[in-house]
């Protein structure tokens, strides 16, 4: 029921949400996620391990009765893992009715970045995380790497997903 409501709100807010990004930090780098995918932000929760998954899939959490897988974005981006503390956050995103929690160092703020302030990711920049970056947003307090949420969940696993029996 709640979800429906949220969805409805989402449609209404489509316009107001445009160009708005939730920013979070991994070490010194600041990343931005399109706000329309974000359903909520919770503190770190007890995580239940799951066998046979890549290292960055930490397991599952119980979010008010809903079971949601969580991935550690640090490990996903091939960064050094750090201990979780009280600042660690789980950003729950919802893409195509699939909920996934992203574990990040901390959540900073919601910023508005106009389309004209977004430039494509520099092509010379190599590095693993680059393929998840949709663009680089400029704002007054520095640049933000804007993530492609869809790719974050699928990309390399795409092959795998199409193999799944539904």
């Amino acid at each position: 029921m709640n979800q429906n409501k949220e969805e409805r709100m989402e449609i209404q807010e489509e316009d107001t949400q445009k160009g708005r990004f939730l920013t979070f930090k991994l070490g010194e780098e600041v990343f931005g996620l399109e706000i329309k995918y974000v359903t909520e932000i919770v503190g770190i929760q007890p995580i239940t391990n799951i066998p046979e998954v890549p290292e960055y899939v930490k397991g599952i959490i119980n979010l008010r009765g809903k079971i949601i897988p969580v991935i550690d974005v640090r490990i996903k981006f091939k960064k050094e893992p750090i201990e979780y503390d009280e600042r660690t956050c789980i950003i729950v995103i919802d893409i195509d009715d699939m909920s996934v929690g992203l574990i990040v160092d901390n959540v900073s703020e919601v910023v508005t970045i106009k389309d004209e302030d977004i430039v494509p990711p520099p092509s010379y920049k190599t590095g693993f995380q680059n393929k998840y970056i949709k663009g680089v947003g400029k704002s007054k307090d520095g640049v933000k790497l804007l993530l492609d949420s869809n790719k974050l969940l699928t990309n390399e696993e795409k092959q795998g997903i199409s193999d799944i029996e539904l």
């Binding site: 119980n62 079971i67 897988p69």
Partner: protein, 678 residues
């Protein structure tokens, strides 16, 4: 469909589909009965006539002309049979015609359901029915043939005794059940029911279909009708009151003609008064509708919610913050809450349980059709049809059952000559049975055919590289299980019904999906029995919680044989280093959960931990864990969709469950672990 229609066509359409499907099932049952008894009774004829009449009406209303034409021709046929009281008809031909009609309508309905236009052409079938009717007419002696168009004749014929002035005038008001939808259509079908019995009809709202508010008006003011009829008050009343979804009938005789004034009539009048009085009390005349149909999705949500409530309850009552407090009243209230929650859970579970009977009865049709095609004579015996299983499971059972029955008939049951030669009864037998064994339901399909040919299975399996052991080492059970493997088919010549090489593995897959398993027993020339064991419900299981390090796993209680402590010395290792344990002279493999799930266990030595012996359909083995935490009912939740891209499903985890303290526990897949690690 016309445009006016689309406005409220959806609920109407839904209702039409639902009712027609139901009628089709009913019709099929009647037909199978007729075939079984090889005779047709008055009731059957009336019933078929009635069904055809109803569908003709509703489908022409919904403008599905192909269906209405077809049903009309069949209605004519049965009208003729009924009027002329013909009983020595070619029943085979007759039921073939009706079966084809059922098939046609079912197909069209499924087209409609999928949002397509029902574009099938029933012309040929309609002609066939007409031809049959004509041939029946010819058989009758000259002069007795009446024109079928002459439908003005009332259907129940007392009226002939009266003169035409001998009618009664009635005024009626009819209310339908709330939420029955399509009130205007209900009213229309009532009129149809009465059409042959009444005359000079006028009614309000006048325009049942063009007027968009007709349904509203009927809800508000009832369906008002004024008519003349030669029938008695009670007859009319009963017809009205028995109409679909009729909630309340107010019927008044306004100008009764005083023709027959014997005492009988007086008495009847008294009765009428009584009934009239009753009308004032709507409750007494409410038709006892004690069944409602509910959307399954709603049931699923309800089920989930109840599961959450149960968990939340223990989150509250076992909350660590109040654990050390003396709270007498709180505890009392908590106990009461628990009791109510348990009841709630039981009720919700029982709502979802439906009898397996209808699923079984559908198989009659398969057997009938195949008997015809293959020229065999096989009887289907059904027992245990009152066994109840979760709706979701029932829904997935139909296909596999159908497949198994087809297999039995096609491959199992021999031809009549062969059977006589073998000294078996000429008629083959397939017995379908369901038994509730507590946690599971066992469905068995048993035939008295020629049995499975072990050598042929082995040969075929080795040809397709399906053998994992040498044939000498395999038990009969293992050999028979080979036919469940993908790419296996025991019949060389592909028949229309089975044996396309996609047979049994598909059956196994659908049974696996609902957490069941299949066992095959077979004896040469005696027959084959296939046992399908399925859980009663998917949603809630009894589980034993066991811990390994910080993790808590749930083992379905039904799989547990025993648990015990053992010493390291009891362990033996086979040549490949796999651990086994010797218990009462038998050797069982040991699976250390911390090893297969890569966890830090608290206890590494056998003597400090605990062994839980579990059994699958094939084997038994022991799980090694730190300790047993206790038993709990858990609501099974699927593994999140995102994780299905990994091999979680094959890793020995069947699902997850949320425990009382909000922790998540993984439910172990006992046969999965056995397949992977042993």
């Amino acid at each position: 469909m016309s445009d006016d229609f689309n406005n409220y066509s959806e609920p109407m359409l839904e209702m039409f589909i639902f009712e027609t499907n139901q009628s089709m099932e009913q019709l099929e049952e009647i037909l199978l009965n007729i075939e079984g008894n090889s005779k047709i009774t008055d009731d059957d004829i009336n019933e078929i006539f009635r069904i055809m009449h109803t569908i003709k009406g509703s489908s022409s209303m919904m403008m599905f002309n192909n269906i209405s034409k077809l049903t009309h021709s069949l209605e004519d046929l049965f009208y003729f049979i009924r009027e002329k009281e013909i009983y020595d008809i070619d029943l085979t031909k007759l039921s073939d015609l009706v079966f084809s009609t059922i098939d046609f309508i079912t197909l069209e309905i499924s087209k409609i359901e999928q949002g397509n236009e029902p574009d099938g052409d029933a012309g040929e079938l309609t002609d066939e029915i007409k031809d049959f009717l004509n041939s029946l007419k010819k058989e009758l002696p000259e002069g007795e043939v009446v024109s079928l168009e002459n439908k003005e004749e009332p259907e129940n014929f007392i009226s002939k005794e009266y003169t035409s002035e001998n009618y009664n005038k009635y005024i009626g008001k009819i209310f339908f059940e709330e939420d029955c939808k399509m009130e205007n259509m209900r009213a229309f079908s009532l009129l149809r029911d009465l059409e042959d019995l009444i005359s000079d009809v006028s009614y309000k709202p006048e325009d049942l279909f063009e007027d968009e508010d007709a349904a509203e008006k009927i809800i508000k003011d009832g369906f008002n009708i004024l008519f003349k009829s030669e029938k008695d008050y009670e007859d009319i009343f009963n017809i009205l009151n028995n109409g679909m979804f009729v909630k309340l009938v107010e019927l008044e005789e306004i100008d009764s003609s005083e023709v027959i004034d014997d005492k009988m009539n007086e008495k009847e009048k008294d009765d009428k008064d009584k009934i009239a009085k009753n009308i004032k009390n709507p409750f007494s005349l409410n038709k006892s509708k004690n069944i409602i149909s509910v959307n399954v999705e709603k049931m699923d949500v309800l089920m989930d919610l109840v599961g959450e409530i149960v968990i939340t309850e223990s989150m509250v009552t076992k909350n660590p913050e109040i654990q050390d407090l003396e709270l007498e009243n709180f505890d009392k209230a908590a106990r009461q809450l628990r009791k109510l929650n348990n009841e709630l859970q039981d009720i919700v579970m029982s709502i979802r349980m439906i009898q397996i009977g209808p699923t079984f009865h559908k198989m009659h049709r398969i057997v009938r059709d195949m008997n015809k095609q293959l020229d065999k004579d096989t009887r289907l015996e059904i027992s245990g049809e009152e066994t109840e299983v979760d709706k979701n499971i029932i829904d997935t059972l139909g296909e596999p059952l159908m497949h198994l029955i087809r297999n039995s008939l096609d491959h199992g049951i021999e031809s009549a000559e062969e059977r006589i030669e073998k000294g078996k009864p000429e008629r083959g037998l397939i017995a379908l049975d369901a038994v509730n064994t507590g946690g599971d339901v066992i469905i068995s399909i048993k035939d008295d055919g020629k049995g499975l040919d072990k050598d042929m299975i082995l040969e075929k399996a080795s040809k397709n590289n399906l053998l994992s052991k040498s044939p000498e080492e395999m038990s009969d059970k293992e050999i028979f299980s080979l036919i469940l493997l993908p790419g296996f088919s025991t019949k060389d010549d592909v028949s229309e019904y089975s044996g396309r090489g996609v047979g049994m593995d598909v059956v196994k897959k659908s049974i696996d999906k609902v957490g069941g398993n299949i066992q095959i027993e077979s004896q040469k020339d005696v027959g084959t029995t296939i046992n399908i064991k399925i859980p009663l419900t998917l949603a809630i299981i009894d589980g034993m919680k066991i811990s390994v390090g910080d993790s808590i796993f749930t083992v379905p209680t039904t799989t547990i044989k025993e648990s015990f402590k053992a010493k390291d010395e009891d362990l033996v290792k086979d040549t490949s280093g796999k651990e086994m344990i010797l218990i009462r002279g038998e050797v069982y493999p040991v699976v250390r959960l911390h090893e297969i799930f890569n966890l830090d266990a608290n206890e590494m030595n056998l003597k400090d931990g605990i062994l839980v012996m579990v059994e699958t359909e094939e084997s038994s083995y022991c799980l090694f864990a730190d300790e047993i935490l206790g038993e709990q009912q858990v609501v099974v939740k699927p593994i999140p969709f995102y994780l299905r891209q990994y091999k979680v499903k094959d890793s020995g985890v069947a699902g997850c469950a949320i425990l009382g303290n909000a922790d998540i526990s993984l439910i172990l897949d006992i046969s999965g672990i056995s397949n992977k690690y042993i």
